[in-house]
Amino acid sequence: MMKGAGLCLALLVIASLAIGVEDLSLSGAGDRLPLLDLLSISRMPRTLAAVLTGAGLAVAGQIMQTLTRNRFVEPSTAGTAQSAALGILIVTLFLPSAGIGLKALVASGCALAGTALFLSTAHRLPPEQPHLVPLFGLVYGGVVGAAVTYVAWQNDLLQYLDIWMNGEFSGVLRGRYELLFFCVLLIAAALLAADRLTIMALGEGQATSLGIDYRRMTQIGLVLVSVMSALSVVVVGLVPFVGLVVPNLVSRIFGDNLRGTLPLVALCGAILVLSADIVGRLIRFPYEIPVGTVLGVVGPFVFLWLILQERRNA
């Protein structure tokens, strides 16, 4: 299965490198851009950004679902992404000249605080009512989102905010996405912690008796989720549903042993976002449809299907 997914991603990468407004040309004859320049300036960065965002968000979603022990939670529905956007907004207001690095830092900090608050509350909800957690997450994300909207509205930044709230890759070029490479480190860290995360999914009591430092692991998971979400919000904007749909589909087919499934989650996340970006580039060629819009259209249907399936299995 890993092989199949890997092959699929490889094909998508090739397609993504080939698709764009400029014509591909080997020689760079006439006024055409030489192939290598085109690839290194525009196509490679865009493709890599989509792959890294997708993998990062899917892994972040998986970790978040493990930490909350709930399948219907993901960073963009439970306040993490909204908190990150609040962070960017704060930097924009108080330090307008701040570089993207500082923005990412503050966004990560805010995402961390926002997610920690969500987690600490989610843990107090009665475990016998599993739909309470995602419901609470939606309300919480909505409240944080409303705060963001209010601040933006007060400062005439509403439409500016839309950029972060609707992820897209049209602005990605060499030199404008490299922050996402941190996602590789974070995903690697998540893979290292996969076994522990699997045990944590059993709950605090079980995990502790099996020798897991539950609190420490929660903190690590929190940092991973927050930083990955914040990075993608800073660089490409909010990309919904990846963190929700991908871990669910993977665990439905392959179970919950994260050591085996986490790499697959990352791969499938990359596949989903990259194909959504390719679709967005093609539908109205040569114009673009943001990846957030494409996923926003497809995502709810998959989400509904998942919920209905859940009921049938119950």
């Binding site: 764009g20 407004v21 851009l33 320049d37 701040a98 005439d156 930044l157 950029i163 897209e168 070029l173």
Partner: protein, 303 residues
């Protein structure tokens, strides 16, 4: 009772005549259809920045204005007027405290005349973007008649037309242009049917990309698109600058290896349009004149 009927009718007619002696009873052509205004307004609240700009051009001072006016040229106006909401949303309480005898909405407050007309006769003076230049003229003439400043309006329109003429002459035969708007790190392109299309039509500037669809908010495009279009002139609107947030400027967004390959960038033919004049106050006589002279001076600098 026919006699009583007749007296009543006579009284009515007399009353009408009396009113007409110092009334104006004109049909104002608005975005939402014709509206009859029967007394010349003295105290006017204005929500549309373009309308505000044109009113000032013909010497009408507004009594009520929105909170943020965006154009530095309008800073003095706010000091003398009451704040009655923002450009999107009239503050009905503040409005009714001001009790103006005419309310002008439009653009971002389009459609709000239904609410404000409970307070005073209201006009929606939105310009639909198909032919901003012609509408700018017509609005100015209308305001002139409405406020009894026909001569000032005529002169303002003449000044407007002559700067339009100069801009048109400067543009002729200097190649194709592409209008883009930067919004933070992202770019949209605008064709000749868009809200900024008047630049192509009124000035005779051939578009670098034919057949771009009419999308008010432009078409999100990649930098590859701009390079492929390879315009001789790049007309840039920095949306963040238009609304006063100047942290992510357009130059930084466009300064990349792909845009650097266009004829426009190579030869320094990149025009940064006065953002608020072009974006917020489109169709205001003075604001549009400033846009025209920015275009004229940029084109004239390159023979």
């Amino acid at each position: 009772m026919p006699i009583r009927h007749i007296t009543r009718r006579a009284l009515c007619v007399a009353g009408l005549l009396l009113a007409a002696s110092h009334a104006l009873a004109m049909d104002v052509e608005t975005y939402a259809g014709k509206v009859e205004i029967d007394t010349p307004p003295k105290k006017v609240a204005v929500f549309d920045i373009a309308a505000l700009d044109t009113l000032l051009a013909i010497g009408v001072t507004p009594a009520g204005v929105p909170k943020t006016l965006y154009l530095p040229e309008l800073a003095g106006v706010a000091e003398k007027a009451e704040i009655v909401g923002d450009i999107f949303e009239p503050d009905l309480e503040a409005l009714s405290a001001l009790s103006p005898d005419l309310i002008i909405v439009g653009g971002r407050s389009s459609g709000k005349e239904k609410q404000t007309s409970r307070i005073a006769p209201s006009l929606d003076m939105t310009m639909d973007g198909v032919d901003v230049i012609d509408q700018a003229r017509r609005r100015a003439i209308t305001y002139g008649e409405l406020f009894g400043r026909q001569d000032a309006a005529r002169q303002a329109v003449e000044r407007f037309d002559s700067s339009l003429d100069r801009a048109r002459k400067s543009v002729q035969g200097k190649g194709r242009g592409l209008i883009v708007m930067t919004n933070g790190p992202k770019v949209s392109a605008y064709g000749s049917e868009s809200r900024f299309g008047w630049v192509h039509k009124a000035l005779g500037l051939p578009p670098a990309v034919e057949q771009m669809q009419a999308a008010t908010h432009g078409e999100p495009v990649s930098f590859e698109f701009i390079r492929k279009a390879d315009p001789d002139w790049l007309l840039v609107l920095d949306r963040a600058a238009a609304i006063g947030a100047s942290d992510q400027n357009a130059r930084a967004t466009l300064d990349n290896a792909l845009v650097a390959e266009t004829k426009a960038w190579k030869s320094g033919r990149v025009i940064y349009l006065p953002a608020a004049d072009f974006y917020i106050a489109a169709g205001g006589l003075q604001a549009t004149q400033r846009v025209l002279s920015a275009i004229e001076s940029a084109f004239s600098a390159h023979p």
